[in-house]
Symmetry: D2
């Protein structure tokens, strides 16, 4: 099989201050679908064009941020190989029992040098994408708000960027697709296990274990406009956009959930293969790398993380 | 590495009746770029957002059709594994020396039960996508015509569909992404080695070794309209479109090159993973499977092949 | 005031075989909004971005077709001038009392040489476009289906094209914006009282008093695709499209309501002023004039009228 | 004729510091076409989908700004009526001889209470839109850069807003389409002589005779993205965008020409008729009125004028 090992970001668990407000934001405004709640009060959501039971879990907490991000792995052999790699790498690795999250199999939890918690798993129950597998329509009726297509990636902030990049490349077989480099120092790394310009990305930052944003795919630039309109109509705090990134070419808009977690919705405009060149951005083009149109950095965008 | 084995369709060699007319069609009208000619008079072309030296080779011939289609493989170990698989499968397998095609390494040639010639290779020189690898713009200036982004896939016709599907799945580790099934009989198979709904597709047909179309990616549905306009402005024979396929959700238009080979340009509107369900289309929805809007089969589309 | 005289197509009254099916088609599928029913069982509809109370009236009848099409005139002075012009022109002119159609003022009814019934009026009650007039959002929530923006124009078939064009130009002060001409004979005339390429159009035809289609505006080519998808998802009979017209440059799709009346939804791609040149299409380009991409006439499109 | 009186903005004459740099900006980057130069060194430009000989005149000057804006009037009778109205209104009115601007007939020049210079004229030679008037394609080949479609409107700043709005409404028969009102005070007025949300707009400002921007139409939101990309690729100073205005619903981006004059390119997303309601924006929604997505005023956008 030509896609092997880590297949994709499987879910992100976000800490939120108020479950009801958050569900309204992610479902009514962004278009995710609630698929379950558990006895801890956690809410399970998915985007419409995902088949697995959930891709976002909302968990009540006193402060916002990311609890963990999990990747779906193709099979048990890969999972065991990765677990071994992670242990050799020196991560704290533990197994979380199947069913700890509803509908999800056993997870291998590990920490990264940037202080984030990640998990790998091979099994999640299938919920479906709202379309039959025989003679499906191109899209289901009844979608709400921004009609987010899938949970796509996270951008995380942390101190030991070098260690975490090494971990993802060597232990988990990701590629560096794009990077920001200042002299010898890597400032940012966009890592891919797929044709996507990023399945996860990291920015070097003094503090450990921060999330910059969780990102969701939209189909078209016209849908980015529609998302922007909804942000204003629903009085959602905008961060920046619509605009394009130089990094990844993504057509994007950023905003905040009611707890202050930053969200992105974006339309892809590039693809990659393992033999694609690594694209490098330099400090003199950092503005363009991040906001291709304004070419101006923005304190809020750079420094507000949860 | 998470994309392994066969990475992608690497090139298609097309037989054309007149080289000059064909170069005009593929370059001025479709937006490919001529990158070389060889001493056999073959012309090498690439789409703008491909890095390798060529993805289309035009070869003068008395009749149109496909000479062969080649896939790029991630490394020598995979190539050897596939070569072994192909021999076990019973294919005629031979090695073509590096340099037989300019800029291309050694190729492993084999035939399929449907009578087509395929090749695998691991090395092709890099030409670049017209953008620097440091601080690249999102697109290069000076693109022509339809501005095709990449060679995407071929749809081929042949008799032993079962054998060829088995070959691609078992020997080359492709997945069946979508299919048309009439009772027990598979009529069409869309095969993927990637996130794409198809890297190659086959239709069951009495005659061996026919090509229905070679397909090229466009970025947006708006570019499909622009391609349609160019088809009329340049008096290119249209087959059908703009429309959408039910199969793959592609937003598409079909037309013919000056030799009668069918081309598609299309905008993707779906993605898949190895654990995505196989989508099946049945004879009562065949019209919708092929032309989602008209839901009517079209003799020319079904029966004209080269 | 710079827009004077006839302002716009105000409404079309369509004969339909079954009111419930028709309401479902025009509201659920096309996105019009029901605003009233009267004691004759007639149903009043409007598109979302129109302010007047209705732009479509559905009337039960044994056969499909157009009862009449009405234009809104800027003021009583213009109405009286037009009424005088129409009488001099030799039309049968009568006044229909205010309130005969709910929410609509007195109408001046007249017949055209092509056998159609038209009306002029100056007053219709305001329903609003679903947005406040203070600090409005760019679009209202809760729109259905194709989200048609406005009733835009009709294309009518009839015998005395010369007479009807003369009537609209001389008595009602329309311009010919575009035309199809075969030698000395005008085959089709697209008439405008605005910046639009057509507010009404006529095709020469043996039989009097036929309607080819009633047309509704969409905002974008992407919405034309969405409309096309809905046509298939809701099993609406497609006529042709998505495609572009050479005439008017419109990006279009045609289909039928449950009674067999043809509808168009389209995205504008041109504008005109009174001093814009008349655009002329000739028989050798008739295919391109009508379907710019296929350049092929289509019997159903040309000959099925109601 | 249903469009009467003032038909449209006919041209704007802009003061620029350097002709060559400006021509490069307006032609290579924005896509206008140079159609003439005169013995004063003034350069005449037009957008592709305009028929008259020019819609922009560049004039070398020591400081940037607008020399004058001119409107095309439908005929001599209207011109005489407007001239009479302007004199009664108390404007300084003079006639500029035909030929003072190449290809343009006699102009009636007047000043507004905000200190701007405007002109009216009825004759300008036809250059054409690059397409034949018989069997035209939907667009011409060879367009450059942003491919601006037409000169659309100007937004001007000046002190006596009340007087100038009164002038345009009473003497020139424009409508107020949208406005910003603070209590009794009108802050901004968007004036239309057409179906457009604005043919000219004014903001109340202490200083007379300032221009905020000259605006040019694009066909689609996708072309706004393309314009934004070009702004960065060509290192053009961006002001703000891509975004949407609440006022007019326009999808927009702002930037500066090499002399510091602000330009807008935008995609229309509304239409109006004389009986459309006036849309009013209030100070508590001023951010949304101007930048619908960010809802934040921007000093540079509000205060930099030329």
């Amino acid at each position: 099989m030509a896609i092997t090992g880590v297949m994709r970001p499987g879910h992100v668990m976000l800490n939120v201050l108020d479950i009801d407000e958050s569900v309204k934001h992610y479902c009514e405004h962004m278009g995710l679908i609630e698929t379950d709640r558990d006895d801890q009060g956690r809410v399970y959501l998915k985007c419409w064009d995902e088949h697995d039971w959930f891709s976002v879990v909302l968990q009540k907490n006193d402060s916002p941020g990311m609890d963990h991000m999990a990747f779906k792995v193709d099979n048990q052999a890969s999972l065991l190989r990765f677990e071994e790699n992670l242990k050799k790498f020196g991560c704290n690795v533990e197994r979380i029992a199947a069913g700890e999250l509803n509908h999800c199999g056993e997870r291998v939890r590990f920490d990264s040098p940037t202080g984030h918690t990640f998990e790998l798993y091979t099994e999640k129950e299938v919920y479906g994408n709202g379309l039959p597998t025989t003679n499906p329509a191109p899209w289901p009726e009844g979608l709400q708000g921004m009609q987010a297509v899938r949970f796509d990636h996270c951008l995380l902030y942390g101190d030991d960027l070098d260690g975490t990049v090494k971990l993802f490349v060597e232990a988990l077989e990701f590629d560096v697709a794009e990077q920001v480099v200042d002299g010898e120092l890597q400032i940012a790394a966009f890592l891919s296990c797929s044709h996507k310009a990023h399945d996860i990305a990291f920015i070097r930052n003094e503090e450990k274990n921060k999330i910059h944003h969780a990102s969701f795919l939209l189909n078209t630039w016209e849908n980015v406009l529609r998302a922007a309109d909804i942000i204003s109509m629903k009085d959602i705090p905008l961060d920046i956009g619509p605009t394009r990134h130089g990094l990844t070419r993504g057509q994007t808009i950023y905003f905040f959930d009611p707890s202050g977690n930053r969200n992105e919705v974006f339309c892809e405009d590039s693809y990659r293969y393992p033999d694609s060149p690594v694209l490098t951005w330099t400090p003199d083009h950092l503005g363009q790398a991040i906001f291709y149109h304004s070419r101006e950095l923005n304190d809020r965008f750079l420094n507000v993380v949860t």
